[in-house]
């Protein structure tokens, strides 16, 4: 077992365990911590795939921005820990059944499908290629994404501006 494989296993485990704890942990603070582990693991996987720019973006946006915001929201919200869960899990048997069928199916696909493999390249600077791509081949999706963000942000502000009152 070489070093690279060991690092891969470590990152994959960090991602998986993190993701599982986001979904399964009863304590929302631990869920946020699980998300941290998951996002860092994914960032590491990006580095292993020679996607340096995406990895840095992952670090800056998701870990530096989104996760810190989530943590702030958790810390500033009072009594978020003792919240009573109103929707208990129902249909556990069905849920487990779907989980096992789908995970078996997806594992089978992951292992047996003839994925296109590309030769491994050493980490090179991908920023130039990405910039060219965004303003060249992928110009339209890039611009549309910006319109989408404007519309969504304004929409979010409009519905968040007034608090939803409870019907009492």
């Amino acid at each position: 077992m070489n070093t690279q494989f060991a690092i891969f296993v470590f990152l994959a485990l960090a991602t998986l365990i993190g993701a599982a704890s986001v979904a399964l942990s009863r304590n929302i603070f631990w869920s946020a911590m699980g998300l941290l582990s998951c996002l860092v693991g994914v960032g590491g996987l990006y580095v292993m795939l020679s996607a340096d720019f995406v990895a840095i973006t992952q670090l800056l946006v998701y870990i530096g921005g989104v996760l810190v915001l989530i943590l702030f929201a958790i810390m500033l919200t009072s009594q978020i820990q003792e919240i009573s869960v109103s929707n208990r899990s129902v249909g556990l048997v069905g849920g487990y059944l779907i989980f096992f069928v789908v995970s078996t199916l997806l594992s089978f696909v992951a292992l047996w499908a003839p994925w296109r493999l590309t030769s491994k390249e050493p980490v090179a600077n991908t920023t130039v290629a990405l910039g060219d791509g965004l303003l060249g081949t992928w110009l339209l999706p890039f611009e549309i994404a910006s319109v989408l963000l404007v519309a969504t942000l304004v929409g979010a502000i409009v519905i968040a501006r007034k608090e939803v009152k409870s019907d009492s």
Binding site: L105, L106, F108, V109, L111, W112, A113, P114, W115, R116, L135, G136, T137, W138, L139, L140, P141, I144, A145, V147, L148, V150, A151, T152, V154, G155, A156, V158, I159, K162, E163, V164, K165, S166, D167
Partner: protein
């Protein structure tokens, strides 16, 4: 031509979309500039929104007819796309007109609503034109994300908040699953271009081992089913329909009217593009029947269609809220229209186009009638329709026309739409799997009978039940005009349907593979 030159050249075929984008920004600005207290605020913003749609329509009229790929194969400009764009612009203009006189959009908020509505329309334009997996995903999000915001638009309303949240959760899961399926396709083929995918999938070198063969087939099946999730959620087909009744109940009714026709039609346009490009092994609608990964995809769509219409209709039977009833009815209509896709032929595609065109008018009309009733009574249950024929005959008669048209009774346009769907399915009766196609047609016929029952429940309340109390029903003048025009259009095109046929026939050319 370099990539940049190609992009610049493409922009000249992209004018309607550019007009819409400029319109979105203009409306955001106007919303801030026009004073909140101004008496003319709603009028100014409505005229601006209509002007944006009008400019886009004028530019669309000059769209060249030849098919071409634009922006390096991101989207297509072809007669097929132009047809859907007209449909979307029509739905948008009518929704603006309905919303302007509705009580559900308070004057301070209506400007942003128009802007968000136009951004949904832009997203639908892209859905009907996208030729690339990335573009396809972005277009779906462009339709979904502003819709989530508008669904929760009523301030301080618990049902609206619930509607919005349910919509976000269902939509997020569906698009996540779809994205995962798209990643499989990219991982197998190494391209995101729809026109290239079909060819590349065929030439995908068969792996030597039996395990690899099976792996490829299973991977493709999973990928296609996951992509179907995203599309099925947009057209509200079973089993991805659960969001539909709750969102329809909680969201502002003028927007629900739009939601039930616009994004659904866009979903069908996208489905046709996806199915007939990379799922079709020989190119063209007929190739779709031969199937990818040896799965008879038309049969899968046929089963979905049968289940969707049956479940939608059976759930609609015991609804008392008009909006929920129309929600389930819209699910069953998605089922009918799926028959056209299952037919896997030129005629099938054409019948879907005709159906969506007619469905636009009759469903918008039905929701408009519900809005008019709700404005008078304050709620929207079947009991509110009691004795409507004596209180306001025009409203009652036009509502009845919309409901009969939704059932598909002659001489209304709904009959023409359904007729073509049945013809498309039954034209297969002598071919492979003919018995299955006949079964599908029989199920659809039975469903039409079921749907007659719950539509007639409303008509019975309007014409036979005695009115409860002395309530004055006086719909706004613009609503009366629209109700009259819509029902006149349904009657006219129910007996003179040649224009529908000719227009859809001329719009059947579309880019499938490079």
């Amino acid at each position: 031509m370099t990539i940049t030159q190609f992009n610049i050249a493409s922009a000249s075929w992209f004018r309607p979309e550019l007009a819409l984008t400029a319109g979105i920004l203009l409306l955001f600005l106007l919303d801030v500039l026009v004073r909140k207290q101004s008496r003319y605020r709603v009028a100014v913003l409505t005229v601006a929104a209509l002007a944006c749609v009008g400019v886009a329509a004028a530019l669309l009229a000059f769209q060249p007819v030849e098919s071409r790929a634009m922006f390096n194969g991101m989207i297509a400009s072809d007669p097929f796309a132009t047809f859907w764009k007209w449909l979307f612009l029509g739905a948008a203009a009518l929704t603006v007109l309905i919303a302007a006189r509705s009580d559900e959009f308070p004057s301070p908020r209506i400007g942003v609503f128009y802007a968000l509505l136009l951004s949904v329309v832009l997203g639908m334009f892209l859905m009907a034109t996208s030729l690339d997996l990335l573009m396809l995903y972005l277009a779906i999000e462009m339709v979904s994300l502003p819709s989530y915001a508008i669904a929760g638009y009523k301030p301080g309303d618990r049902r609206a908040a619930e509607a919005s949240l349910k919509y976000v959760i269902y939509g997020g899961v569906a698009s996540g699953i779809m994205l995962f399926g798209l990643s499989y396709i990219y991982g197998l083929v190494g391209s995101t271009n729809l026109t290239a995918l079909g060819v590349r999938l065929e030439s995908l070198a068969a792996p030597a081992s039996a395990g690899g063969q099976l792996g490829l087939r299973v991977a493709l099946m999973v990928a296609v089913i996951f992509v179907l999730c995203g599309i099925g959620y947009k057209i509200a087909a079973v089993p991805w329909h659960m969001w539909c009744p709750d969102v329809y109940e909680g969201a502002p009714t003028p927007f629900v009217a739009f939601l039930s026709v616009g994004p659904k039609a866009a979903g069908f346009a996208l489905a046709v593009r996806v199915f007939y490009s990379f799922l079709a092994s020989g190119g063209g609608p007929e190739g779709f029947a031969r199937g990818l990964a040896d799965v008879p995809w038309p049969a899968v769509v046929g089963v979905l269609s049968a289940v969707t219409m049956t479940l939608g209709n059976l759930s609609a039977l015991h609804q008392n809220n008009l909006k929920r009833l129309l929600a389930y009815s819209s699910i069953s209509h998605a089922g009918y229209a799926l028959m056209g896709l299952a037919a896997a032929s030129q005629l099938g595609v054409q019948s879907v186009m005709i159906y969506m065109l007619v469905y636009l008018v009759m469903n918008l009309g039905a929701f408009l009638a519900v809005i008019a009733i709700a404005q008078a009574t304050g709620s929207e249950t079947i009991a509110d329709c009691n004795g409507l024929s004596r209180r306001h005959p025009l409203l009652a008669v036009t509502f009845a026309v919309f409901l009969f048209s939704l059932t598909g009774l002659p001489p209304l346009a709904g009959f023409v739409g359904k007729w073509y769907l049945f013809v498309a399915v039954l034209s297969h009766y002598a071919g492979d799997g003919g018995a299955w196609y006949v079964t599908l047609a029989v199920i659809a016929a039975l469903n039409t009978a079921i749907s007659l029952y719950y539509y007639v429940r409303i008509i019975r309340a309007m014409f036979i039940e005695a009115p409860a109390g002395e309530l004055v029903v006086r719909p706004r003048v613009s609503y009366q005009i629209m109700l009259g025009t819509f029902s006149a259009a349904l009657l006219l095109f129910g007996v003179w349907w040649n224009p529908l046929i000719e227009w859809t026939q001329a719009s059947l050319t579309f880019l499938t593979r490079g």
